[in-house]
């Protein structure tokens, strides 16, 4: 664990960020039933334009019932490792350091892009900025699970 080299750390973190960007935004458009699955069961903070949202299920609910079709385009994104040894609490308590791997990190992701709501293509797209914290999925269920989950999220229209 302590031997993870910089290239491995960079690879793991940037791939996790890329995976989030490539799967989360398309889900907001086409696969809203899957939105909740991107979140930690008890996220720290979820904010949309300053509105607090309780959890992934609530986000999914909002997108399914209130949001018109949304077309997101991420134009730039980047990430950094926050904690190389992120303390994960599993069903059996805190994950012992002996079981930790290079993937036990928390990651800060920042995306910048534009979004157009609704079918009217004449509407100018709005610029947004979004920050996420990703943490390892604590679930021990190895099947069909995401490696990383959203611990916190802050979406803001900025243009």
């Amino acid at each position: 664990m302590a031997t993870a080299t910089d290239d491995v750390l960079t690879k793991v973190s940037t791939e996790a960020a890329t995976e989030l960007v490539n799967s989360f935004y398309p889900a907001l458009k086409n696969d809203r039933a899957s939105i909740a699955s991107f979140y930690l069961p008890t996220p720290t903070s979820i904010l949309f334009n300053g509105n607090t949202v309780a959890d992934g299920a609530a986000v999914q609910d909002i997108f399914q019932s209130q949001m018109p079709e949304a077309f997101y385009e991420v134009q730039s994104f980047d990430c950094q490792i926050i904690n190389r040894a992120y303390p994960t609490t599993t069903a059996t308590g805190l994950k012992p350091t002996t079981e930790m791997t290079v993937k036990d990190m928390s990651i800060l992701v920042m995306a910048s892009g534009n979004v157009r709501y609704g079918e009217n293509r004449d509407q100018l797209p709005r610029g947004f900025s979004e920050t996420f914290v990703l943490v390892p999925n604590p679930s021990s269920d190895r099947k069909r699970r995401r490696d990383w989950l959203i611990q916190s999220q802050n979406f803001r229209l900025v243009v």
Binding site: T14, T44, N51, Q75, I82, P87, S112, N154, R156
Partner: protein, 690 residues
């Protein structure tokens, strides 16, 4: 050509006197942009470069006296300085608009190439421009077999003209291409004159045999414009142009070539009447082009460049047949509210109304019939998730103190800033969003100083580059920051509206002491704002998004920066984060701190509302949108939360106070104070004993 030359160097410089030196001195101006070092090299280059182009010399001699006296360096610098000052003053007051766009990169010579629009290749997708450039380069090289290949450094299309930029030593070769045969037409190649009125002037000169000076054309046009401009109503009436006695007297409509150039020239003359773009934008809200026998808008298309923001446009009594006739304005006039196309065949087309409404999303009145209400337009603009005041949860004002000091220090003393709160584990990266939406339809400066450091993971795919563009540790961060341009961020206290700052706690951060296996808690701070930077002597405004994670550490204030991630993008304004319902006085009501929770948040007005959920007695989700909850309900809940925070009353009593006062917070507050003073509020009205 000949008339041009003589005018440029000779005595006939009436109205273009000001322009003449500007143009020729532009090169000089560029010289001066380069500080010290390059000045020396220049003298050497100016020597061999200029004189050899003896024939090319159009303007080479004018406006260069400063350099000719290659005397003592210090004296020369002073002269240069004085001249530069004079130039920049003239520029600012006279032609800043044009100069902004036309400034040539360093000392290139500009030429206009005309005639190609009638060529066989003009039907190509790019109008044949690519073919034309390839042709010109080929022919320039045909003349010489040795030396470096002649190239067109840069080019752009301006009306019927392709403006090309070439090195001064290629001027001769460029001019020799005049009258060469390209795809069936004879090209006209001449030194570039940036004013369209000069182009028109030339045409008029050839048409009438006399040669009225550009100044004369310009002053006549200025007069015509002033007769047709109504400042009270901000209307520019360009209707019935062909019947205008002044224009007829000028001979504008005697031949098609002047007719086609007349309108762009008129627009230029209008633009030259203004010293700044904002004034120009505000001067005109309405334009009429009625009764002009227009069959399409090609001849008048520059209207959309000069007046991109007009609200009312009258195109009635023309001969516009269908949408194709105005297709050139498909994406223009984004603020158009009123459009009159009556007495045009297009109005009778079945899809007329539908098409115009689709093209112009703010259109309210079409052919004098209301097609959309202001409310409908407002509803379009509304975002599905209402824009609320910032969420700012920061016990002990740690984030507030950090962020208040940060940008001033980033602007003024990056080294001290790094030393005070960054340590050996801090990480900094930046990424540039080069295609972000903009607040204005203006061109923004390039990203040269940043782009090689940008870690946009969409574009930076290779692991070594991803690694080298991440900066870990105070030393590396400072080294990078020192290489980035100087910046100026707005004062957060004086201009709080220009920032949006949000903050919330974040767990599981690395513990620098290594003692806590569960990590330590810290704060995540997200900032959106703008800054200014000097690009080539011009102040450029850019927008940024920046997220920090700060945790306990050995830096100033007992903190350290763990992560600092910066996104740069074109200026996008700050309207996007001003709360949607302006009726709610977020910004005005001072919020009394509520025990244990609401901190006095950072940028005073904008952030002054503590997060509803952070208040005591307020259930999760209160004031937040939820399925089945209307926007009005959400807004009311937010008001109630605000009233509760301010008064210390329960939600139920806060709601009573508001609904009894027409949901006006100020009135409700006044009412509350009266009732409290008279002792008529029961103890149960309050969350905790008042």
């Amino acid at each position: 050509m000949k008339t041009m030359k003589s005018r440029r160097s000779g005595g006939d410089r009436g109205g273009i006197r000001k322009r003449g030196p500007i143009r020729t001195d532009r090169d000089g101006d560029m010289d001066m942009d380069a500080p010290g070092g390059r000045g020396g090299k220049r003298g050497g280059r100016g020597g061999p470069g200029r004189p050899t182009g003896s024939g090319s010399g159009s303007g080479a001699g004018v406006g260069r006296p400063a350099r000719s006296g290659g005397d003592r360096p210090q004296a020369r610098d002073k002269t240069l300085e004085a001249i530069q000052k004079a130039i920049s003053n003239t520029r600012d007051s006279q032609v800043s608009i044009r100069q902004g766009k036309n400034a040539a990169p360093s000392n290139l010579e500009l030429f206009s190439v005309l005639g190609w629009k009638e060529s066989k290749v003009s039907s190509h997708r790019d109008g044949g421009v690519e073919n034309l450039i390839a042709f010109l380069e080929r022919r320039m090289n045909a003349h010489s077999k040795s030396g470096p290949r002649a190239r067109i450094t840069k080019s752009r299309v301006e009306g019927d003209s392709l403006v090309v930029f070439v090195r001064p030593d290629l001027s001769d070769r460029m001019l020799r291409l005049h009258d060469s045969l390209f795809a069936g037409v004879h090209l006209v190649v001449e030194p570039y004159d940036p004013s369209s009125s000069a182009v028109l002037d030339r045409e008029l000169g050839t048409a009438t045999g006399t040669s009225p000076s550009t100044a004369d054309t310009k002053s006549k046009m200025t007069l015509i414009l002033s007769k047709r401009y109504y400042p009270d109503t901000k209307l520019l009436d360009l209707s019935k142009l062909s019947a205008d006695p002044d224009l007829v007297a000028m001979g504008i409509f005697n031949q098609t070539s002047t007719e086609s150039k007349f309108f762009p020239a008129l627009m230029k003359v209008w633009e030259m009447g203004f010293t700044n773009a904002a004034q120009r934008r505000e001067a005109v809200e309405s334009v009429s082009l009625a009764h002009n026998s227009l069959t399409n808008v090609t001849a008048v298309t520059t209207l959309s460049q000069t007046f991109p923001d007009i609200k009312n446009l009258d195109l009635s009594h023309n001969n516009l047949k269908d949408y194709r006739s105005i297709n050139a304005w498909r994406w223009k006039f984004r603020n158009l509210e009123f459009l009159d196309l009556t007495e045009n065949p297009f109005s009778a087309e079945p899809n007329f109304k539908e098409t115009m409404m689709k093209w112009y999303p703010k259109l309210q009145t079409l052919n004098n019939v209301i097609v959309r209400t202001a409310e409908e337009i407002a509803a379009q603009k509304k975002t599905p998730i209402p824009v609320q005041a910032p969420h700012f949860q920061d016990d002990g004002q740690i984030a507030e103190n950090f962020i208040r000091a940060f940008f001033t220090r980033y602007d003024n003393s990056r080294d001290e800033l790094v030393k005070s709160v960054y340590d050996s584990q801090s990480e900094f990266t930046l990424n540039v969003n080069t295609s972000a939406p903009k607040a204005q339809q203006t061109e923004s400066a390039g990203w040269d100083p940043y782009i090689k450091k940008s870690r946009n993971l969409l574009k930076i795919n290779h692991l070594p580059a991803r690694m080298s563009r991440a900066y870990t540790g105070a030393d590396k961060i400072l080294e990078l920051w020192k290489s980035l341009p100087q910046t100026r961020h707005p004062d957060m206290s004086a201009h709080p509206e220009e920032y949006l700052v949000e903050c919330h706690p974040v767990p599981g951060l690395p513990d620098p002491t290594g003692q806590s296996p569960t990590g330590v808690g810290g704060l995540m701070i997200m900032v959106h704002g703008k800054f200014e930077e000097s690009v080539g002597g011009k102040v450029e405004t850019r927008s940024f998004d920046r997220t920090f994670i700060i945790g306990p550490g050995g830096g100033m204030g007992g903190i350290r920066v763990i992560n600092d991630i910066l996104c740069l993008r074109a200026y996008g304004g700050h309207e996007a984060w001003s709360p949607e319902n302006q009726a709610i006085p977020y910004a005005t009501a001072p919020v009394a701190p509520v025990a244990g929770a609401a901190p006095v948040a950072v940028p005073a007005p904008a952030a002054a509302v503590p997060a509803p959920v952070a208040q005591p007695g307020i259930p999760q989700g209160y004031g937040a949108p939820a399925p089945g909850k209307t926007d009005a309900q959400v807004q009311q809940e937010l008001l109630v939360a605000q009233m509760s925070a301010k008064s210390g009353m329960t939600l139920q009593f806060s709601e009573m106070a508001l609904s009894g006062n027409g949901w006006n917070l100020d009135a409700a507050w006044k009412n509350f104070e009266e009732l409290k003073a008279s002792g008529s509020l029961p103890a149960t009205a309050f969350l905790s004993p008042a």
